[in-house]
Symmetry: D2
Subunit: 437 residues, 4 copies
C-alpha cells in the first residue's frame, strides 16, 4: 500500500540523488575506459565496476520491489554486479571484476541512465517511505563508492609502472607552513556520554543504537600527525624497533618489508630512513616529500599509527573519545571547514590555514583517523532487514574503526557518529593519525 510522501522531501531527495549520480560521473572524467578496467589490489575494484554496482544497488534493493512493472536493464546484471550480498543472489569472486571487459563502459553508462530514469519515475509516482529511505541509503552508498573509486584509481596509477596522474596540474604551494606550531592537546573531562547517531536524518545501521559510555578524562591532539613528524619516527628507527609495535604489526613490517607509508617512494634511500629523498605519490603524481612536510601523513596502517603513537609517548583515541570531542566542538562548522572531496584538493592538506585561530581544532577531513576501537556492534544494534542487513553488520570482526572522513569523502556524507572500518593492515586508504593521551 502506497503512502503519500511529502512532496518537498521527495523533491529534495530527487535533487540530492541527481547531484550524487552526476558527481560520480564527473569523477570519472579524467579516466579512459582502459583505466576503468584496472583492479590493482584485493581491496580495490575497477572504476567501471563502481559505476555499475552503485546502479545495481538501486535496481536490486529499490526498483525491483517498489516500482511496479520495472524492467531490469539486463537479466545477468542482477548477480554480476552484486558485491557480497549472499542473501540476494550468487555473485562472482571479487578478483574476477578485472575480467569484466564486457559489458562495455557504454553499456554501463546506459545502465546508469536506465536506473536513473526508473528512480525518477518512482519518485514522481509517490514512493513508499521505505522506498524513500532506501533511495537515501543508495545515495549514501554511492558516496562511499565515490571515495573508493578515487582511492582505487590512485592505487591503480601507483601500480602502473609509468605512474600516471589523475590530475595533471600541480598543486599550488600553500605559502603557510606549520613547522613552528607544535602539536597541542585539547583536554576533555570524564563522564557518562551519549554516543551514536541522534538526529532525524540519515545514518547507517552501525551508528545505532545511541547509547551511553563512560569516558575517563582524556586529551586529543588538535591536528593530525604530519609527514614531517612521521619522518622523524622513521629516522629514529621506527620500522626497526620491535618494542614499538604490536606483535601482529611487527609481523606485518617484516613480512611486507614496510619501511615508510604506502605511497612514499625513495629510489635511493641510502643508509638513513630519515633522509629527504622521498616523494609521495598522489592523484597529482609524485610530489617531493619536502613540499608535504606539514601535511598529514596518510596511507598508514593501524599498526603504523599505533607504533607512531607509542613512539610519541601517546596512544590512539577510542572511537567514543573522538565522537564526544567532535560533537562538543565549539562550532560544528569546524567539522565542515575541513578538506573534503568538494575542496578539490585531493590530498591531505596542512592544518595551518583553517587553524589561524589558536584555539581551533581540525577534527575532520584530510585523513580517516585510526581509532583504538575494534569495529563491533553497539548495544541494541539491529542490522537492516533482509539482504541489506549484510551492508555493515557481517563485517564486525577483525577490523578497526576509523573516524573523521578524508579528502576524498563527500562533505555531506560525514557526521560525528560516522564509523568507517578497515582491517588493521590496510594501507591503501587515506588513513592518518590523531594522538590521544
Amino acid at each position: 500500500m502506497k503512502s503519500a510522501a511529502i512532496p518537498e522531501a521527495v523533491a529534495g531527495l530527487s535533487e540530492r540523488l541527481g547531484a550524487v549520480r552526476r558527481k560520480t560521473l564527473e569523477l570519472c572524467a579524467p579516466l579512459t575506459p582502459e583505466d576503468m578496467m584496472v583492479q590493482s589490489c584485493p581491496e580495490a575494484s575497477p572504476a567501471k565496476w563502481h559505476l555499475a554496482h552503485t546502479s545495481w544497488f538501486f535496481e536490486s534493493f529499490i526498483l525491483r520491489q517498489y516500482l511496479p512493472g520495472y524492467r531490469p536493464f539486463h537479466s545477468d546484471f542482477q548477480w554480476l554486479f552484486n558485491s557480497y550480498y549472499e542473501g540476494y543472489s550468487a555473485f562472482p569472486e571479487k578478483k574476477l571484476r578485472s575480467s569484466f571487459s564486457r559489458p562495455a563502459l557504454d553499456e554501463i553508462l546506459n545502465y546508469r541512465a536506465h536506473v536513473d530514469d526508473a528512480i525518477e519515475r518512482l519518485l514522481e509516482s509517490g514512493a513508499e517511505p521505505e522506498a524513500l529511505k532506501r533511495i537515501e541509503l543508495g545515495a549514501n552508498h554511492e558516496e562511499q563508492h565515490q571515495e573508493l573509486l578515487l582511492t582505487d584509481i590512485l592505487h591503480a596509477f601507483f601500480t602502473n609502472p609509468l605512474r600516471p596522474s589523475y590530475i595533471k596540474a600541480r598543486e599550488q604551494g600553500t605559502g603557510i607552513r606549520d613547522q613552528d606550531r607544535p602539536l597541542q592537546f585539547r583536554q576533555f573531562e570524564s563522564g557518562l556520554r551519549q554516543v551514536g547517531y541522534s538526529g532525524n536524518g540519515f545514518c547507517f545501521d552501525n551508528e545505532l543504537a545511541r547509547h551511553q559510555v563512560w569516558l575517563e578524562p582524556y586529551a586529543l591532539s588538535h591536528r593530525l600527525v604530519t609527514c614531517g613528524e612521521y619522518l622523524a619516527f622513521m629516522a629514529d628507527g621506527g620500522y626497526r624497533r620491535p618494542e614499538l609495535w604490536l606483535s601482529a604489526g611487527w609481523d606485518a613490517v617484516k613480512n611486507n618489508g614496510w619501511r615508510a607509508p604506502l605511497y612514499w617512494t625513495n629510489d635511493d634511500p641510502g643508509e638513513s630512513p630519515g633522509d629527504t629523498g622521498w616523494s609521495v605519490f598522489t592523484l597529482r603524481g609524485f610530489i617531493p616529500l619536502e613540499e608535504r612536510m606539514d601535511a598529514p601523513v596518510s596511507q598508514v596502517s593501524y599498526y603504523e599509527a599505533d607504533a607512531y603513537a607509542r613512539w610519541a609517548g601517546c596512544r590512539l583515541p577510542t572511537e567514543f573519545e573522538w565522537e564526544a570531542a567532535s560533537e562538543d566542538a565549539p562550532a560544528r562548522d569546524t567539522l565542515i571547514a575541513c578538506n573534503f572531496l568538494e575542496s578539490g584538493a585531493p590530498a591531505p592538506s596542512p592544518a595551518s590555514e583553517p587553524l589561524q585561530d589558536q584555539n581551533a581544532t581540525k577534527w575532520s577531513g584530510d585523513c580517516w583517523q585510526w581509532t583504538a576501537s575494534a569495529y563491533l556492534p553497539y548495544p541494541g544494534f539491529k542490522p537492516l532487514a533482509g539482504a541489506l542487513g549484510e551492508y555493515n553488520g557481517k563485517f564486525m570482526s577483525g577490523q578497526m574503526v576509523l573516524r573523521g572522513g578524508s579528502c576524498l569523502t563527500p562533505r555531506r556524507h560525514i557526521r560525528p557518529s560516522y564509523r568507517n572500518f578497515f582491517p588493521p593492515e590496510t594501507r591503501w586508504q587515506f588513513s592518518g593519525i590523531r594522538l590521544a593521551q
Copy 2:
C-alpha cells in the same frame, strides 16, 4: 638493596610455587619422551618445550637479576627457550620447537631442578618485593602453560592417526542428564559498573586499571550451550547458511571445510549433518557424541560461537557483562564449584550436577567462553616494565576475549577479572558458548 620480605608470605609463595612446579611434572606422567616432541599445529608447542620455557622464565626474569652469583644452567638456553620476548634476546622461530630433540628430556628435567633450587635459595635469602612479585608471576605463567601443555597434547594425539589416549580409563557415566532442563536466562540491570581487578592479590597487567563501564540491561544463560544443542544447529544447516555468519567466519567455513567442532569425527556423515554417528576426541580418546549430549560444546571458534548465537536468536556477552554478572554471583563459591583442572575430569562436564539448585548458575570452568569483546587495553593500562611488558600488551590486536576458564585451567589461576584471548578462528582450545540477550 634488599628489603625484608615478610617470612610467612615467602613461605606461602615457596609452598605455592613448589606445588605448581610439581603439578607440571605430574601432568607429564602419562607422556613418553617421544610424545613430548610433538608440535602438531601452529598454536601448539611440544610438552618438553613447555617444561623448559617455564623454567627459562624464572631464570631470565628473576634469577639473573635477583640472585647474586646465579650460574645459568646452560648459556644457550637463554635464547633457545625464549618464546617471544624481543626485548630480552633473539629467539628461534616457533615452528622450530619440534626440532629440539636436544637438549634431551633428562637435561630439561635437570634444568628444572637447577632453577627450582636457585629460586629456593633466593627465597631463603630474602628476596626483594619485585622478585617476589615476579615469582608469583612465574607461578601464574606456569599455570597457563600447564593448561596449554594438555591442550597441545590433546591436539598432538588427535593428529596422530592412531589417536592414542592421554588417560586410559573411561569416564564414568554421570547418570544425570540435562535434556529436559532448558536453557534459562538470568537478568541483570543496567548501571555504571566497576570492572578490572580490584583485590590485593595477583593479577595480570591486562586486568588493570579497574575502571567504570556503563552496562545496558542484559541477560545471560545459566549454563553453556551443550553438544546436543549444537548438534541441532548443525542439523538445521548451520554450516551451510551464510546469513548466520560473520563474513570472515563464512570465509573460514569455506576455506577450512568446517562442518563440526574441531574434535568431532564422523566417518560416515551421510546426508544429514545432524546425524548421530559423531564421536568426540578427548584426553580419554573417542567418546560417542551420544554420551556427551549434555556436556558443553567445546573446541569451537569465535565465528562458530557467534553463528550459533545468531541462529539461537541471541548474541554473545561482552566481557564486562560476564565479569559484572560473575562478580555478583550469590556465592562466589559457584565460581569455585565448577570443573577445573583439579577435578580430574579433563573434559567439559554436564551442568546438571552442580545445578541441582534451580536458581544456581554455572559461571566458570568446563570451557572458556567467547565474548563479543575484542582484546584491547583498559583505560590506563600499563604494561609491565622492560621485556616483561611484552607478556600481554603486544597481543592486543586481532584477538577476542574469553572468560571463565576451562576444565584444564588450574582452579587457583582464575578469577572474575581474568582475560584470556585468542584469534577468532582458533579452535584447539576448550572454548565454548554462553548466550546473552
Copy 3:
C-alpha cells in the same frame, strides 16, 4: 659495416613482415580496448601488451642497433614492454601488465606504426644480414604472440562470468562424423635418425644442432584423441583412479579439483562424470559437447594426456618419434592440409574430412601434442648471442615438449622440427593427445 643484401630476399621479407604485422591487428578487430586490458591467468598477458611487446622486440633488438639515428618511440617503453630479458633491461613483474591502462591503445597503435616505418626504412636502406635475420626472428616472434593473443583472449572470455564470444557466428556443422572410424596406428621402424632443423630457412635456436638419435620400433595414432574418446575415459573414472596418474599429476587433480578439460563446463554433472550435459567453451562461445564428440580434445595438461594414454594401454610419443614420423609423411602436404590459424576455424576440427583417404595421417594442426620428452637442449645447442639468448634457452627446465601446432598457429610458422614447451600442469593451451605404442 653494411653488406649488400639481396634485394629480392629483402622484398620478400618486407612483404612477409607486413603481412604478419597486419594479421596481428586483424586478430584484434573483434576486441574492445577494455577486452585488451584483461589478464586472467598467470600464463596470459593482455592483448594490448602483446601488441606493444611485439613492437618492442623490433625496437630493442633491431632498430636500436641497426638503424642509424633511430629515435625510440618513448623512452619508458624500453623497459615497460620487456617481457623477461634480464640482459636487456629491468622489466615489470608479469602480473602488473593488467595495470597498463596507460599507455592507451591508441598510443600502442602509434608505437606499432612508428616501428613499422622504421623497419621499412631499415630494409630500404640495405640492412646487414644479422639485422635481416633478426627481422625474420621478429616476424616469427610475432606469430607466436598471435597465437598467444587468441589463447589469452579465450581464457579472458572464459573468466568473464558473462562468457562473451570472440566470434559471433556459429560454426557450421561439418556433416561428417568420425565415430565409426576407430583409431589406427601407423608403424615406424627402428634406426638411427637425424632430428633437428636441417633446411636453409628460419628456425629457432632450440631446434639445433641437428643430431642423431636412435629410435626403437614404434607406432603412432593416425589422428588425435577425440572429445568422445576422452569422455569415455572420464566415464570410466579417469579422474578418480590414482593408478592412472603420475604422482605429480594426481596431486594436481586433487589440489585443483580437475574433473574434465579446462573449458568443459557442466552445471549439473550429477552422479556420472561421463554424462552428456557438458558444453565446451570456444572462441565462438559455448558449444554442446555432443557437437564436438569427433573433434580432438584440447586444453588438457600433460598429466591428463599421460593418464589418458595409460588408461588406453598406450603411451605418449617422444618428440623424436613424432618428428621422424612427421618428416617421413608420404606427402609433406599432409602437414599443410591441417587446421591452422588461416583456416578460420579457431577450434580443433574433426579429423574426418582430410582423412577421406584411408591411409592418410593427420600430423599437425588442431592441437599441440604433448610428448613424453622433457624440454632440454640438443647436443651442441647454442643460444643466440646476447640478451636474445634468453629467448628459449633459459626455460629448459621443468617443461615438456609439444609438437605439431594448433588451430591458432599460423601455418607458415610451423615445421616438423618445431618445439613448443609448457610446464606439465598447463591447461590454457590448445594442447591435445596423440597416442604411441
Copy 4:
C-alpha cells in the same frame, strides 16, 4: 605353488638381508628416541618412521602374500607406515609422520624383530622365486632408507638451533690437498651405446630396458667440483647474475634467498660472498670451509649445479654420457674405491688420495652428481606388477636424474646403471657437480 629355491642363493640372501637390517640399527645408535621423532623438511621423515616403513615393506609386499599363516604385527601398521602406495592402502599425509610419538620406538623395534623372524621362517621354508626377488628388493629398499635416514638426521640437526653432531669425534686432517691439481677432462668418443642394466643381479625397474642411445663426442671432468672452486663462483657474483641461471633457477635464488650451498653458514658474510668466514655443517658438526676447500661441494640444487657449469664454460653431463664413461672405466674398481657409507667418512672427501695415479678418474661416491637428463622412462620400461609398480614409475615427472652415489650410499647398493632422481630445487641431498664439455 612353491618352487625349490637354490639353497646357497637363499643362504646368501639371508646373510645379506641380516647385514642390511643390522646396519640400519647401527646407524641409529647415536640417536635418542627424541632425535628419531624430528621431521625438519618436507623431503625428510623421522628416523623412527624409516625403521618402521622398511619393515612395513617386507610385511606388506612379501609376508602377507608368501608366508602362510603370517600374523601381522599390528593391524593399524598396514596403513600407518605405507609411504605412498595408493594401490595398497590409504596412508597418512607425509607431514603427519612427525606426530607418530606412538607407536613408541620400542614397539617399532619389536616390529622389526617380528618381521625379521618371519622373513627368516619364509626363507627356511623354501620361498618362491618371486618372494626371493622381493626380499632382494626389500634389502635394496632398506639401503635407500639408510641413506635417507642419515640425510634426514643431518637436516634435523641443522634445523635444531643448537646444531648437535651425529658423530662427536673430529675428522682427521687429510694432509693431502688438491689445490694445485687442476680439473682435467677425460675424452669419450661418439657412437651407439647400450645403456641400462645388463647383468644378472638385482636392479630397479627404472634401469630397464637396456637400450641403445647415440652419443656425440664428449668429455667429463675427472673429479667433482670442489668447495674451493664453488667459492670462486660465489666470489664472482654467481648468486647475483641472472645470465648464469635457468629462469626457474633464478626464481629459486630470489624466492629462497640462496647465496651459498644449503649447509654453508656465515654469521658475518660482510660485503664479499667469497670471503673465508664460512663453515659447513656436517654429521660431525660445523667444519670451517677452509678445511673443506678440496672436498667436493655438496647440498647444491640442480639449478646451482647448472649455473656453476655455465659459469665455468661447461655443462652438466647427460645420464647416458655418465653411464657409458663409468662402464668403460679402466678398472671397475675405481668405482668401488670411492667414498661410500662403509668408509665411515660421512662427508664428501677430497679427491687427492685415490687419485695419486695421474690418470685415474673418481667416478662414484662422495656426492650424487646432477645430470642434464630429466627422469623419464626408458623405451620398453615396465613398472613392477601391482602396487609395487608405484615404487619408481609414478615419479617420472618434474625430476632430474642423479648418478654415482654419495658418501651415505651403501657401497653394494650402487652400480653404473643406477638412477637416482630429485626435483631440481632439492638441496638437502649430498648432491654435487661433475662437469661436461
